[in-house]
Every structure is written in structure tokens, then in C-alpha cells.
């Protein structure tokens, strides 16, 4: 646990004083080679983590990660870094908990600070139905070996004293689920840590390299066309998050995702006031306090499809209204900055990790509003799926054909205020 988890500090801190120094060198910027064994499209957290486990678990190093913009500049740079594994269904529990366990050892694995701070998450319940759903989820979590408990409103007030637990509120807090091992991490450091590791191992990270087409031969893809020339490949792994459909349309593969703007905001830097993470489906906001001191908050997607990396201000206004309702002290905080990413949502709020109609093309997408927490876990199972040519057991339930068989993994409840 980092020092910032202390609810009330008495001595003033310099914002950012406990952040580590940046190292001199992070990764190489090579020219693309003519061919690679594995080409990963998308240099966000998932693409980088997949390359890491291809190297580490399978000894596959002739790998390129192609990124159209700058490294980890998509949703990886824009997310609010909540990490938890308290999802309802066994399939989700397996992959998210696998990921959480990897987070717990990731700093050592990468040899790079990621400021993973396990400060716990409260998912508030405000209605009787919320209470029933929450208790059910806690019991399901326990059966899957995930730390979860049901806490009443008094305990909520002990864990996070600034939440308004009085009855003088439109939707009084009736209790919450609590996962103590949940936390936050420094998203940029996570991206850079993976990038540094894989670059040292020989993986080529090619920035400013957009995939614009595929070279097909029957049911194989033999190469990718990019803004930096054609690159031949043994295997293609798609990890393009919100832009996935643009790529799958080029492959004539239909994927049931819709890309939406998802916004977040931060306040100016404040003394530590918020010791944990609080999420509320009903009042519709979630808040944590970053290491430097900003209150970080977010809520649901903008309603319409959008690739613009920006959203509408009335959505931000509603997030702030919800936050002030739950945390009256925030009325004095100032909004510093808002931004948006493009998230790839699915009909059942679960990801797609799948083979495709092409023998050597693998698909990872559909993490929507909640894939940061999955970064190491997804990387692990996607690398395994690519290396073995068949789905890792944790990936299998998330295949594309579940929409045909009807075996959906409905996580709309646990996906919470989207995260």
C-alpha cells in the first residue's frame, strides 16, 4: 500500500513528491523489418502485454507491435485505472482474478514502478434491487475465491468517511460490496514498463504506423499494409480496442461491437481525502484519488457511436452532479481537465477474445469501458491463444460464436458504472 492510502494526512505533501524518477531510456524506435512471426496491431496496454507474455511464456520474440499514433496513447492513456475482479460469472471471475494476481507481481516482473495501490473498492447499493444483486455478486465472488464482502452503510462510512451515508439524500446508501484487493495503478508507467521490457527482449515497437489493409491468401493473412510499408507476418493479433471495427471491416469479419466516446475528468490536486475507490451504478459516478492528489472520476459512455475521442459536456456535468451528491465535500473542488477515449462495447458487456474465420488472425476487443484492469491477464491468455493456436481456457468462453450459441456472459451489473 502506498502512503496515499492514509485517509487524513496531517503534514502537507508536495504533489507528486512520491513519484519515482523516469529512467533515461525506455524503448527502441526501430524501422519496421520486412517480416515478423507475429504482428500485433495496436500499441495500447493489451498489445504491449500480449507481446510481453509471448516473449516471457512462449519464447516468441520475432514480434512487432504496430501503433498508428504514439505508444499507449489511446485508451491506455485515457483510462481511470480502476483494477478489480469482483465480476459475477465464473468465466469473468477467472480472467479478471487471473489479471489481478498478475498485477500483484507486475512491478517485480517488469522491473519498473507502476504504483499499484490496493486501496479497495466499494460498489454502493442504493435500492433494494441493488442490495439483492450486490449480495448475490459477493456470494458468487466468494465461491470463486475472490475477496469480497457485503458491508452496511455504517461500515461504508468507516471505510470512506467522505461518502454521504445520511438518509438526507435522494438515493441513500444502503450498503456496498467491498473488495479490499482492488486498486489503481499509474497507467502510463504500466505501458512504459511493458514497452521497455519487450523492447529489451527484441520486440519491435513501431509507432506512427497505421495498418490500412491486409494481404490475404485464402483463409490466411500473409501480411499487413501500413503507412510505413507492407509487412509480412506469420500471425496477426488485433488489439485495436475502439478502432477494431475499422480493421475487421477490411477483413470482412463482422464483430458485434459499437464504439462510443467515454469521458473522464480530474479535479485540481488536493490533499489526500479519499482513501479508497467508490463506485455507484445508481447515482452513476465513480471516484478515486490519484497518487498526485487529483480526484479522478468517470461514469457511463456518451450515448451515440463516436470515434472522435471527445464527448458532450452535459455528460460531464451529470458526472459532477452525481459526485457532489455522494461526496458533498467535492462541491469545493475545481474541475481541471476532461477528456475522452473511444471504447468498444459489446452486447453483454464482456470482451471478445477469439479465433476468426482466418486461420492465423486472432481477435481481442470488446473490453469497452473496463479493459485496463485486464491488461496483464489478457496479455497472458491472448499470448497463450496465439502461441498454441487454440483458446486458452480463460479465453474460451469469450469467443465470437457465443453470440450465435447464446452463451452470453452478461456482466452489465458488475461492469458497474461502466468500469
Amino acid at each position: 500500500m502506498s502512503p496515499t492510502t492514509t485517509p487524513r494526512s496531517t503534514t502537507p505533501r508536495t504533489p507528486g513528491a512520491d513519484l519515482p524518477e523516469h529512467p533515461d531510456s525506455l524503448w527502441r524506435n526501430p524501422e519496421p523489418k520486412k517480416a515478423y512471426d507475429v504482428v500485433i496491431v495496436g500499441g495500447g496496454g493489451h498489445g504491449l502485454a500480449t507481446a510481453h507474455y509471448l516473449v516471457k511464456n512462449h519464447g516468441i520474440t520475432n514480434v512487432a507491435v504496430l501503433e498508428k499514433g504514439w505508444l499507449a496513447g489511446g485508451n491506455m492513456a485515457r483510462n481511470t485505472t480502476l483494477i478489480r475482479s469482483n465480476y459475477l460469472w465464473d468465466a469473468s471471475a477467472a480472467i479478471y482474478e487471473h489479471s489481478l494476481k498478475l498485477w500483484e507481481g507486475l512491478e517485480e516482473d517488469l522491473g519498473y514502478p507502476i504504483l499499484f495501490s490496493q486501496r479497495g473498492v466499494l460498489n454502493l447499493a442504493h435500492t433494494l434491487q441493488d442490495v439483492r444483486d450486490s449480495v448475490r455478486r459477493v456470494e458468487a465472488n466468494k465461491l470463486n475465491g475472490i475477496d469480497a464482502e457485503w458491508v452496511d452503510a455504517e461500515e461504508v462510512a468507516k471505510i470512506c468517511p467522505i461518502v454521504n451515508t445520511s438518509s438526507d439524500i435522494r438515493y441513500p446508501v444502503m450498503g456496498a460490496t467491498y473488495q479490499p484487493r482492488a486498486g489503481i495503478a499509474k497507467h502510463d508507467y504500466v505501458g512504459w514498463g511493458f514497452a521497455r521490457r519487450i523492447s529489451d527482449a527484441g520486440v519491435d515497437i513501431i509507432q506512427g504506423c497505421e495498418v490500412t489493409g491486409f494481404v490475404r491468401d485464402g483463409d490466411r493473412v500473409t501480411g499487413v499494409r501500413t503507412t510505413r510499408g507492407d509487412i509480412a507476418c506469420g500471425t496477426v493479433a488485433l488489439a485495436a480496442a475502439g478502432s477494431t471495427s475499422v480493421l475487421t471491416d477490411m477483413l470482412d469479419v463482422r464483430v458485434p461491437i459499437q464504439s462510443h466516446p467515454l469521458q473522464a475528468l480530474v479535479s485540481e490536486l488536493l490533499e489526500p481525502v479519499h482513501p479508497t475507490i467508490v463506485m455507484s451504478n445508481q447515482v452513476h459516478v465513480y471516484v478515486s484519488q490519484a497518487h498526485k492528489g487529483e480526484l479522478v472520476m468517470g461514469a457511463g459512455v456518451d450515448s451515440y457511436n463516436g470515434y472522435g475521442q471527445r464527448g458532450a459536456f452535459h455528460v460531464i456535468e451529470r458526472q459532477m452532479a452525481a459526485a457532489v451528491e455522494l461526496f458533498p465535500v467535492f462541491a469545493r473542488a475545481h474541475l481541471l481537465r476532461t477528456w475522452a477515449g473511444v471504447v468498444d462495447t459489446t452486447p453483454d458487456a464482456s470482451p471478445i477474445i477469439s479465433r476468426t474465420p482466418y486461420e492465423n488472425v486472432y481477435l481481442n476487443c470488446g473490453w469497452g469501458t473496463g479493459g485496463f484492469k485486464a491488461t496483464p491477464g489478457l496479455g497472458w491468455v491472448f499470448a497463450d491463444t496465439i502461441a498454441n493456436g487454440e483458446p486458452h481456457p480463460y479465453a474460451a468462453p469469450f469467443s465470437l460464436d457465443r453470440f450465435t450459441t447464446g452463451a452470453l456472459v452478461d456482466e452489465h451489473g458488475a461492469a458497474a458504472v461502466a468500469h
Binding site: S245, V246, D249, N305, D401, F403, G406
Partner: protein, 117 residues
């Protein structure tokens, strides 16, 4: 906040409207003849165009009627609004990946395309 032009009420603020997703996805003509894959495509699969998309919108805080609109999913700019009974305006050039299937959507119900190819 954007002004969106309701074809009945005229321009109103964005907050008065709700989004209904891709337009021109008709209910299957012979539902009993659809196999699981065809049903899946009717129920779960929609275009996710980066560019101009034909969409359904509802003017919930006004006339409460549905209408269709052509909107760019990158700039979010509306290029046309039209009543549900009217055909998709031909004058608006469809751009961007995935747009080819916008006009082919009606065939989703009858074609037997597999997941993908």
C-alpha cells in the same frame, strides 16, 4: 452541446434526444426460417462505421417521435435528418470503413453470411 434538427420540431438541444443506434435494420420477413447465426446477426450485430452512419434518434423531450439521421461518427456532425417513412437521402455520400454494409443492411435478414466472410 449540439443542436439537433428534429424533422417535426426543428432545431433543439441535444439533451432532448435519445439515441437509437443504426437505422434501416428491419425485422426479419420470415423469422421462422432464420437459423441461429442469422438471428445472432439480426439481434447483436450492427455496423460500427467510422464515418457517416444512418441512425435512429428519438425526440423524447419534444414530439416524442422517432426519426432518422445521417451523422459523421468522427466529427459528430449531422448531415441530414429525415422522417422514418422516408428513404435514406441519396445525396449524402457514405464514407468510411463499414459503410458498404449500411446499404446492405436490409439483406442481413435474408443473406446467410457467416460470422465474417
Amino acid at each position: 452541446m449540439q443542436l439537433i434538427e428534429c424533422p417535426w420540431c426543428g432545431p433543439r438541444e441535444e439533451v432532448e434526444f435519445s439515441y437509437g443506434g443504426q437505422a434501416h435494420v428491419p425485422y426479419p420477413e420470415s423469422p421462422a426460417e432464420l437459423d441461429d447465426e442469422q438471428w445472432a446477426h439480426y439481434v447483436f450485430f450492427r455496423d460500427n462505421t467510422r464515418g457517416t452512419l444512418a441512425e435512429r434518434w428519438n425526440h423524447g423531450a419534444g414530439c416524442r417521435r422517432w426519426f432518422n439521421a445521417m451523422r459523421d461518427t468522427v466529427s459528430y456532425r449531422f448531415s441530414a435528418v429525415y422522417r422514418t417513412a422516408e428513404p435514406m437521402p441519396a445525396s449524402v455520400p457514405l464514407t468510411g470503413a463499414g459503410s458498404s454494409s449500411a446499404s446492405a443492411t436490409t439483406s442481413t435478414t435474408t443473406s446467410t453470411t457467416t460470422t465474417g466472410r
